[in-house]
Symmetry: C2
Subunit: 341 residues, 2 copies
DNA sequence: ATTTTAACCGAAAACGTTTTCGAAAACACC
DNA sequence: GGTGTTTTCGAAAACGTTTTCGGTTAAAAT
């Protein structure tokens, strides 16, 4: 254990800790000469400031907390990637917590982060979360929060999102323009905003193009971890509505479940039924036929969210007013085989 | 900002900070009565200890650092999942850093973690890493390190691994027993231990079954982020060795690249050429034909690695001798369509 | 009535920094 | 030689805890 601290440098040089500290931090009231001596000695003794002490004194930890619903998830790991890169670039470390889509866990973890004195928090809400007191409390405590992807419209903070409704609208419009007549939707569960918005986009696109919305063509897939849901509902819809000719799925995972079933049941995609996914996961190029989907820029989302968060943190520190922003990242249709005859 | 501290409780109750602190921590020299009063007041004032101050005083941060080569990677995100779960259960937070397979980054990040005063470090080495000074230095500073998956045999610390050589040996033996005669290997780059070990397992299996090892049947795939490498080398091998009848790939990603090419080129899998992957990524069930592969227990690996690390941290704290352990997690063959005719 | 013991509490130091403020020294000017 | 100015440094407080050690009081024992 050769942990050198300020006092070691000070006594080695016969000067005070104050002077050493100031020399290292470039204060101007230290002469060039002693400053040089300090720098040299610090280097020689391999000095590294004790972050914990610095944190206590400066009241900032240069750490941000991140709460996501899951890590084993292509989209979220992309976001994480963006977060880590941008945070590192700006000199912040990041503590990750995963809520496993549980509201209670999410709440507990947020409390943990606050206690750890993180400088700010990045969150994507769990599917269960429909009460936002814990988030509002955090904001009230002057800890900046930025929400991404799975957000709550009613919380007053910065957000980084895609326009789920528009993306879904575009997807379904695309299908309509391709000539598909009976378009079903495999939606997600009822609470998350994305799920609602994508459903609304689906519905609006139908109505905008003079097609009748039929609630019986909407199936709920609320399992996020495997493609069974898509598989089973595909089976079901073909029994109940054998004349459906396209399905817009809430995620690539669901879409892949659908295609899996179709492949096994000998239902041709896209000839008999076209399939449209959402998110552009890696595996959407692995499945055959390759999946048409919406590209959801996870990496950029992580980048942007960190960037906004750190800006708010520094604004707060310097007593500048912080203005919340809602950034909407563009999405686009990735056309592949599952929708082109 | 309503951050209550010990002194707030103390003055509200007309007692000293010492007493409050002791009451909260259950010291026995505080009367039942005042202890109750303190607890109640702390609850009422919503007291949460300032971790930074505690850290400084106790000289531990209850935080562990994790350095992995990549986050957008099915295996590593599984490990991360295990790490997060076990760490949370044991009251530790985790700081994630990704090296992007770069040695210099890995080194810098380790320094960052040390400066942050993490209590221990979990690492999976980058592909470039062939110098271990930074890790040995960390250990010398009495910061426990446990390596997982991509380890260095020469570093003296605990490790959690699979037996890559044996797993590869089993895979190739399986192919041999299935009657495949000309088995190629798509290996990884030359530095990482896994890559070496899987290659050795391949070679030994051939030799053990009286088959000749031919270095011309070994192709190098050193790109870890997409399946192009597998795709291109599949193309190449079919030109150079059209009579190959099985390929053992170093990862599922490479295997999927191979199958993709075969599907496009009309080469039947497994009829003409069987394909064997490694890791059991999610997408190995998405590809058609479904991929036979080796199950690599990422979640358990994360779990175990954290468990060992925290044990070492507490042993160290209580001045017990720490004994390094090498834990080898079992793997097994997942037989799917890509190898059964 | 005195001593012993136990129960309860608090002063103070410590963890390693940062920053304010004042003091000393050096220099300049008349 | 006095006055003012600049340069350079350090003492000390502060951040919020934890823990040691001693002190006070009350109860128990003699």
């Amino acid at each position: 254990m050769n942990d050198t601290k300020l006092i070691d440098i000070a006594s080695a040089l016969g000067i005070s800790v104050t002077t050493v500290s100031k020399a290292l931090k470039g204060y101007t009231d230290i002469s060039k000469a002693t400053r040089a001596r300090v720098l040299e000695m610090a280097d020689k003794m391999n000095y590294m400031p004790n972050s914990v002490a610095v944190n206590l004194r400066t009241n900032e930890t240069k750490t941000i907390g991140v709460i996501i619903p899951a890590t084993v998830h292509h989209f979220f790991s992309s976001v994480l990637n963006g977060i880590l890169e941008e945070a590192e670039k700006r000199g912040y470390l990041v503590i990750i917590l995963q809520s496993n889509e549980k509201y209670e866990l999410e709440k507990k973890q947020l409390a943990l982060l606050i206690q750890k004195r993180v400088d700010g928090v990045l969150m994507s809400l769990s599917n269960e979360t429909d009460d936002f007191f814990h988030i509002n409390e955090t904001i009230r405590k002057n800890i900046p929060v930025v929400l991404f992807d799975k957000i709550a419209k009613r919380v007053d903070c910065s957000k980084v999102i895609i326009n789920d409704a528009k993306a879904a609208y575009d997807a379904v419009s695309y299908l309509i323009n391709k000539g598909f007549k009976k378009i079903a939707h495999f939606r997600g569960s009822y609470v998350p905003q994305n799920s609602i918005d994508r459903f609304l986009g689906y519905k609006r696109a139908l109505e905008a193009h003079g097609m009748e919305y039929d609630s019986k063509l909407v199936y709920v897939c609320d399992n996020n971890t495997d493609f069974e849901d898509g598989y089973e509902n595909a089976q079901k819809i073909m029994a109940e509505h054998p004349d459906v000719d396209a399905i817009f799925a809430i995620t690539d995972l669901v879409a892949i479940g659908i295609i899996k079933y179709f492949n096994e049941a000998g239902i041709k995609t896209p000839e008999q039924v076209a399939v449209f996914g959402f998110s552009n996961w890696f595996m959407s190029t692995v499945i055959s036929p390759k999946l048409t989907t919406i590209d959801q820029p996870g990496f950029e989302m992580g980048h942007k969210a960190v960037s906004i968060l750190i800006d708010e943190i520094t604004d707060l520190k310097e007593h500048r007013p912080i203005k919340h922003q809602i950034v909407e990242l563009p999405t686009r249709i990735i056309e592949r085989e599952s929708t082109v005859k």
